[in-house]
Symmetry: C2
Amino acid sequence: MALKTKKEKDFSEWFTEIVSERGAKLADVRYGVQGFVVHRPWAVKIIRIFEKLIEDAVEKDGYEPILLPILVPKKNIEKEKEHVQFAPELFWVEKMGNSKLDEPLFMRPTGESQIYPMYGLWIRSYKDLPFKKYQSRISVYRAEHTTRPFLRGREFLFFETHAVFESHEGVLKRVEKDMKICNEVIRKQLGVPFLFFKRPEWDKFAGAVDTFAADALMPDGKVNQIASTHDLGQKFAKAYDIQFLDKKEKKQYGWQTTFGPGIWRIMAALIGIHGDNNGLVLPFDIAPVQIVIVPVFFDENKKLVDKKCKKLEKNLSEKFRVKYDNSENTAGWKYNEWEMLGAPMRIEVGPKEIKEKSLTLTRRDTKQKTKVPEKSLQKEIEKIAKDILKNITKKAESWQASNIREAKTYDELKKILSTYRGFARASFCSVEKDGLACADRVQAETEGGKVRGTLFDKAEKPFGKCIVCGKTAKYVVYVAKSY
Amino acid sequence: MALKTKKEKDFSEWFTEIVSERGAKLADVRYGVQGFVVHRPWAVKIIRIFEKLIEDAVEKDGYEPILLPILVPKKNIEKEKEHVQFAPELFWVEKMGNSKLDEPLFMRPTGESQIYPMYGLWIRSYKDLPFKKYQSRISVYRAEHTTRPFLRGREFLFFETHAVFESHEGVLKRVEKDMKICNEVIRKQLGVPFLFFKRPEWDKFAGAVDTFAADALMPDGKVNQIASTHDLGQKFAKAYDIQFLDKKEKKQYGWQTTFGPGIWRIMAALIGIHGDNNGLVLPFDIAPVQIVIVPVFFDENKKLVDKKCKKLEKNLSEKFRVKYDNSENTAGWKYNEWEMLGAPMRIEVGPKEIKEKSLTLTRRDTKQKTKVPEKSLQKEIEKIAKDILKNITKKAESWQASNIREAKTYDELKKILSTYRGFARASFCSVEKDGLACADRVQAETEGGKVRGTLFDKAEKPFGKCIVCGKTAKYVVYVAKSY
């Protein structure tokens, strides 16, 4: 019951399969509308768990939840001249029942144009600042051409924080904290490594002063932007009239930032980076079922085994998310099923285990079995749980590290992007407007290799001239193909 | 800082005020699109808490979460001939960017037409049954004419379970369990009483065989339908081709039921029934902040008090949701603010309390103060928490009981509905099709009094002839005006 496609052979097909009916049953593309998928129970459960981790993290930083309508009046998008570039991507609602609406409404592509008019009403004084709200458990809508579950949708799950500060300094500090949240949740709890970039001038979020983003490397060597945070300066505040009275009772425009961990994209990373040919491999903290109990019995001892399993389920449930699989399937079928779903640990219980008062724990990531005396079971589970996270993180980190290659010449750059993919690290003339010509040339001549930016948390010295134009290089950039 | 409007004087205006900026800041109607409101943090937090209670309850009953797209292809609504009556209420999406869509899409008014085609794909055999999924944390869209936050919206929060059984018996048992969930969560945890009815033939959900619903009585004597559950028979299964192979390998249509606790309507009941002229009154289990700590100090002992409050917050946070309000507002201002928000308990901490090692607990519902030795604080909080729920439930229950009045004559019925409102209990000829004429007459002659149905959980004997037509009465019905 392993997957038909091998991950190392055809990652793209493997990804499609593991998401589907034949795999872990995460999303169903048979809904009948392109780019709109049905999330099935296992996906909803996983997503709820890590969404909650991010919610907790931003709430700890003082953000409060708000929930806005899905439809936005047409006039709102027209207020910020750069942001209006979302317009061609919008889904329009112009009819209610049989009557035409007075003003067309669009389905939100992101929250700025709906949230900031409210900020304009809510914020009055410096005492209201920093003003920090977030929206989660929502979807946004964009008319994308090619679509894929968890990677690109016309409807996809969204999470956004929006903060207003008294000064630009507040914004810059916030960007660092957003990166810290990515580190704490995505890297440390989900075991998904990434590089955090400052995006080049030409690849910023529409209307932003600066855009910073986390790129995770997928097993096919293409990068997956899993989070981004934007310094909006005062641009949106001016467009949407977000003003506050400062301490001297003078009106000032707020300084803004918005952070968006990509719920779908994080899910794609979890699936793609940790999964193997038998299915998902979930970190313990994220798994909807952390431990599955599988009974192994003959008819004559069924009752005994059943009783033992129930007791074990009850005891372990106090600390963990446990499932006693007492369905009518064979034990072998159950092993395969729960491996496909990525349950981190399995406990087999049969007459032998009952007699010996010791249990066999099988971990999902390495398939390794450990015999554990019943009385030290909880402790052992906690130990293995940590070790699973450590193991899959290490694997992912070392794979990422080995896929960052230094390109000293333009030919090397092209070779890296065509042969190995991953990141090519190169000296580059400029990440301001005047570097765009070089970036465009790279993209055209490498079948889509894009300059992802400069590392945010590490200043790097160029090790040569600009790899494209040969002029003085001021930056080290990372180039990669992307989703 | 109490509310300007008195609840007992003008409930409708009081409700508008408590929801608004001047009250507990729950929803903002200034968004700019009729029937679409912004949920502010306090409302989102309350709703998340009780939504989770319902999620836990249905998951305990074996339901799993799914999440479907917000848009549905036009053809889907046309499959069930009665359900298609939703059509005039739909919001239509016909344009993506600048291009017209091949097939118009509508925003879901409820989930049947999008979920059941998937059920048709997912269900294969009797082994898949009962098949139980639910959708929560979503909104639905209906072109309503008059709209009000939490009572009637063009966009409103939704929760729906959808189960498929092998037989009609499964459906009937499920209806009883749905009522039990209403009892356990809405009545016992939220303290909101209701009557559970079987709706008359003419007031069923579009396409249902039978509809059952919970009506809560609001303080203005109008009823608020807070939940409903429907016996769908095999109607939708036939329309959407939901078939399973039975044990004899014969194809059968599934028997279905759907249950919908009204998230918005429950919120309206919580606000309206428990609230008073100083603001919300929240049951302890539902309150986002269960205990607020307010420091009372002079400049010379500020540090000491601050330290004590922090310690108290830390200790209590292990068990409860606690907020130490160390903002710069005065203590009096804080008292008012947290009363408006309905925080169930307040602890004041000043030098005196520190010295005496005893604290003053003020409960929100009765304003009663209790002096508590610090060491028995946790126990006392738990005791008072229970007592708050008991007290507000009792108040609500006795108010509901005193607003169910027996009508022996048609004049009495009219008088009850015009003078007292609440429920009028009356003998009635029929709740099948042939009773509609009498029901219509009641509605026309009582400014909207509607026959809500017969009690689901109690067979009642008529105590006279039909109150309208004078023919033999087969039922006791409850008549009320409604939202």
